[in-house]
Symmetry: C2
Subunit: 464 residues, 2 copies
C-alpha cells in the first residue's frame, strides 16, 4: 500500500522547481509515476518520492545531483525497480532519478572480453546485443534487472558459483558523487593494485555513496557445449554432501540449484511434472563437448554415493530445458500455492558445510511457524532463498513472516554466514546488518558521512 | 642506502617509552633491526622507523595502535619486507609493527575450502600446512610473502588468470583501525550483499586504513592433473594474439607467461638452455587428466596459427619442471646479466588487446634509453614486469630508469590500463596514481581522512 508523503520540505520544492525549469517534461510529479518509482516487490510498503526526473546522460545526472545537493534534497537512483528490500523507496521524499534512458551499449571490446555500458542497459538487452559476437554476460538474478541496479546491490544469481557476482565482473565504474563530481573508479585492466578499491566500495553501496552512470563489465565466451541435468536425493543433507564433494573435487559446475520438497511439490503441480517429492538438485556444466560430458559423468559418480536416484543429464538444448523446467517455473509454481498472494522473498548465505543444517532448521521453522515458504538454493555458494507467501491484508501471516525472516537472518549469521547473499540490505535488513557486522557498521557510517555529509544519497538505506 | 632519521619527535619518544614498558625485549631500537624493517627491494632508499615492536596477538596490535594513536606516532605494519614500492619505509619515523610472530593457521575448513590465518603466515607455510588435505592456496607473487602483506598490497602472480588475485580470494578480514578498534569485515559466506565491501576496501590499502590481524581465505582443491608447456613465437604480437585467442576460446588456462627475447637470452645463458631467442610463452593447465590433455591440444591448434614453432607440453612433473626452467630461474637469470646489480622491478597492466603494442613500445623505449631491462608478463591478465638493472651508485642509469618507469606508467594508463597490476603504489607510484585516477584520488583521501584523521597509519603511502 503506497504511503503518500504528507509533507514536502520547502527545500525539496525549491530543488524540484529548478529541475522542472531545466528538464521540462522529463520531470514528473504525477502520483502514478511516483508510485511506480517506489514500487517494491516485497512486504515493505511504498514511500513515494516527491518527483521523478528522467536522466539521459552523466552530465545530466551530475547536474541533478548538484541541484539537489544545494537544497539538501534526497536522491534515489532508479533502474527497473526489481530490488527486494525497499531500495528505491523514498522515506524522506526527494527526487527519484530514472536512469532507464541511459540504455546504450557504448563499446564492446571483444578481444578483451569487456564492454562499457550505461546503467539503464538491462542484462537481457546486453546479452541480445552481444549474441552475434560469441560473448555473454553470465550474471542472472532472475529479474531482467538494469546493470546499474545490479552493481548497486551486488547482485548475482544461479551461476555465480562459476562466474562470480557483480563484485567479480566489474572492471570499473563512472560514478556521480554527492556533490556532483564525476569520478572513474577503474580502467579496463584485468587487475590493478593502484590505490583503494573504489569500484568494490561502490558495488553494493545501493546508491548511498554515489550514482553509477557507467559500467565497464567483464564478458565471457559462450561455451562450446552446455550439459544440464537433475537428481533427486532422499534428504537435504545428502544433497548438500553431494554439492560439497562436487566443489571439493574441483568440478567447474556452472549452476547447482536445490529445490526443497515443498518447492518440488509446487513445481509438479504447476508444471505438470512427476518428480519425486524429495530434495532436487539441478546442475549445469559449461565447456567443451568432451569437458561437459566428463563433468556430468563425474557428478553421476559423486551423486551415486548419496542417493539411489540416477543423475539424468543431457547436452541436447531442448531436453535440457525440459529437465530444468521445474527451476524455470519455480517462482510461478511457488506463488501458485496461494493464488492471489504476495511472495516475500528473502535470502541468506552460509558456509556450505552448514548449509544442510541451516536449510533443515529453516524448514522446521517454517512448519512450526505455520507459513508456506518454499526454498530454492544456489547451493554451490551456500546461498538460499525462501519465498514466504501471504495474502494482501493478512497481517497475522505478515507478522509471522517477519519473525521467521528475523530468525532466518540470525541463524545464518550464527553459522558464520550473512543475512543476505544477493538481495542487499535496503530498508529491510538494516537491523540484521548491525547484528552481522557489529562495529563494522560504524566504519560504514564513517565512510557514508565522509562521502555524503548531507545524507542526500538514498537516505535510510543500508545504514540507519 | 639507509637514511637515518635525524630527529624523533618527543611524542614518538613518549609512545616508544610506553611500548617499551609494556613489551620489554619485544621492542627494539637497534639500528640493524630498524634497518631490516625498512628494507626495500627497489630503487627507493630506506627510511628507518624509530622502533620495531614484535606483536603476538590482535589485542597486542590494538594496544600498540592505541598507544601510538594517543601520541600521534606513525605505525608501519611489517610482514616479510618483500614489497617493491617502499611500502614499509618510515618517512616520518614511528613504530614498525612486526607481525611475523602472528603465524598460526587458526582453522582449516576443508568442506568449505577456506582457512583462517594470522597475518604472519607465509604462502609457502600455508601450502605446507594444507598439503595433506588435498587443498592449496594458489596465489604466488614470487616471493614467500606473508598473507597479511599480500592482502595489504592486493598481490597476485602467475596464476591469477585462473584463480584471481587476493581481492578475489579473501572472504573476510579482522582489522585494527587507527583508534585501536577491532572490526571483522566479513564472515565465511562465499558471497554477501550485506553493506559496504569493507573487505575489498582494506585489501590493497597498504596498511593506510588499518592493520590486518586475521584473514579468512579461499582455498582450492589440488588439481588431479597439471599439464605444462612452452612455445616460441616469431614476434610479441603473434604471441599476444595466441593468448587472446586462448582466452576468448574459454580455455581455462592456469598460467600463461611471456618472456621477451632479452629475458630468453638471459635464461639460455644462466640456465644452460638453447631456446630460440624469440618471445616465449609458457603455459600451465589444471584439471582432470583428460581435461588438461584436451586443453593442451586446443592450445597447440591455436598456436599453430601464429607460430611455426611447436607447442611442447607434458603432464609429467619432472619434464614439466624442465620445460618451465626458464621461468623458474628468470629473476636470477635477469640479474646475472649485470653481476652485482640491483634489479628495480616495476609492473603495469593493460587491456590484453593493447598488450603487444605496449610491450613493443616498452621494448623500443628500453633500447632507446640504453638500459638493460628484461620483460616478463603474466599475459593472460595483460600484466607485465620489467626488471631494469643498475649498479649500486650508478646515478646516471638510475635516472634513466626513473624516466623509463615514468613513461611506462604513462603508456599503460594511456592504453586504458593501470600503473601497477600487482606491486601496489607505496611511495614509488603516488604520482602515477594521481595520473591514473584523477579525482578518484580525492575520494581516497576523503576516506583516509575519515578513517585515520591523525594520519598515523603508514603515512606517506598510496596517497601523499
Amino acid at each position: 500500500m503506497p504511503v503518500a508523503q504528507d509533507h514536502q520540505p520547502p527545500r525539496h520544492q525549491a530543488a524540484i522547481g529548478i529541475l522542472r525549469q531545466r528538464f521540462g517534461e522529463r520531470l514528473s510529479v504525477a502520483a502514478s509515476v511516483r508510485e511506480h518509482h517506489s514500487h517494491t516487490t516485497t512486504r515493505i510498503g511504498s514511500e513515494l518520492p516527491d518527483a521523478v526526473v528522467f536522466a539521459k546522460s552523466t552530465d545530466e545526472v551530475a547536474e541533478i545531483v548538484r541541484i539537489c545537493s544545494e537544497h539538501q534534497c534526497p536522491i534515489i537512483p532508479f533502474g527497473v525497480g526489481s530490488s527486494l528490500e525497499g531500495h528505491v523507496n523514498a522515506p524522506l521524499g526527494g527526487v527519484s532519478i530514472d536512469l532507464n534512458g541511459m540504455d546504450r551499449v557504448l563499446e564492446v571490446n571483444a578481444e578483451d572480453l569487456d564492454v562499457r555500458v550505461q546503467p539503464g542497459v538491462t542484462r537481457e538487452a546486453l546479452n541480445t546485443h552481444l549474441r552475434d559476437q560469441g560473448l555473454f554476460f553470465p550474471i542472472d538474478p532472475g529479474a531482467n534487472a538494469s546493470l546499474g541496479g545490479m552493481a548497486a546491490t551486488r547482485a548475482s544469481g544461479t551461476n555465480a558459483v562459476r562466474y562470480g557476482t557483480m563484485r567479480d565482473n566489474i572492471l570499473g565504474l563512472e560514478v556521480v558523487l554527492a556533490d556532483g563530481r564525476i569520478i572513474r573508479t577503474g580502467g579496463r585492466a584485468r587487475k590493478s593494485s593502484a590505490g583503494y578499491d573504489l569500484t568494490r566500495l561502490m558495488i553494493g553501496s545501493e546508491g548511498t555513496l554515489g550514482v553509477i552512470t557507467e559500467l565497464t563489465i567483464r564478458l565471457h565466451g559462450i561455451p562450446e557445449a552446455v550439459a544440464g541435468g537433475i537428481c533427486s536425493f532422499p534428504d537435504i543433507t545428502s544433497a548438500c554432501n553431494a554439492v560439497i564433494a562436487t566443489i571439493q573435487y574441483g568440478i567447474p559446475v556452472a549452476r547447482i540449484e536445490l529445490l526443497d520438497p515443498m518447492q518440488v511439490r509446487a513445481c509438479n503441480s504447476y508444471s505438470g511434472l512427476d518428480l519425486p517429492e524429495e530434495p532436487l538438485l539441478l546442475l549445469e556444466f559449461h565447456g567443451s563437448q568432451a569437458g561437459v560430458e566428463e563433468q556430468s559423468a563425474q557428478f553421476s559418480d559423486i551423486a551415486a554415493e548419496f542417493t539411489p536416484h540416477p543423475f539424468q543429464w543431457t547436452t541436447d538444448p531442448e531436453e535440457r530445458t525440459r529437465l530444468w523446467k521445474a527451476r524455470h517455473d519455480a517462482y510461478w509454481a511457488a506463488v501458485a500455492l496461494m493464488p492471489g498472494c504476495d511472495g516475500m522473498s528473502t535470502d541468506v548465505c552460509v558456509p556450505i558445510s552448514r548449509l544442510a543444517e541451516c536449510v533443515e532448521e529453516t524448514r522446521n521453522d517454517i512448519e512450526e511457524t505455520g507459513i508456506i515458504a518454499p526454498i530454492i538454493g544456489h547451493v554451490g555458494d551456500g546461498n538460499f532463498h525462501t519465498l514466504p507467501l501471504g495474502m494482501p491484508g493478512d497481517d497475522v501471516t505478515a507478522e509471522k513472516i517477519k519473525g521467521f525472516t528475523e530468525r532466518l537472518s540470525a541463524r545464518a549469521i550464527a553459522m558464520g554466514g550473512t543475512c543476505t547473499g544477493e538481495h542487499g540490505i535496503g530498508q529491510g535488513k538494516r537491523n540484521y546488518l548491525e547484528e552481522e557486522m557489529g562495529e563494522g557498521v560504524a566504519v560504514m557510517r564513517t565512510i557514508k558521512q565522509a562521502l555524503d555529509p548531507q545524507n542526500i544519497l538514498n537516505p535510510g538505506k543500508v545504514i540507519s
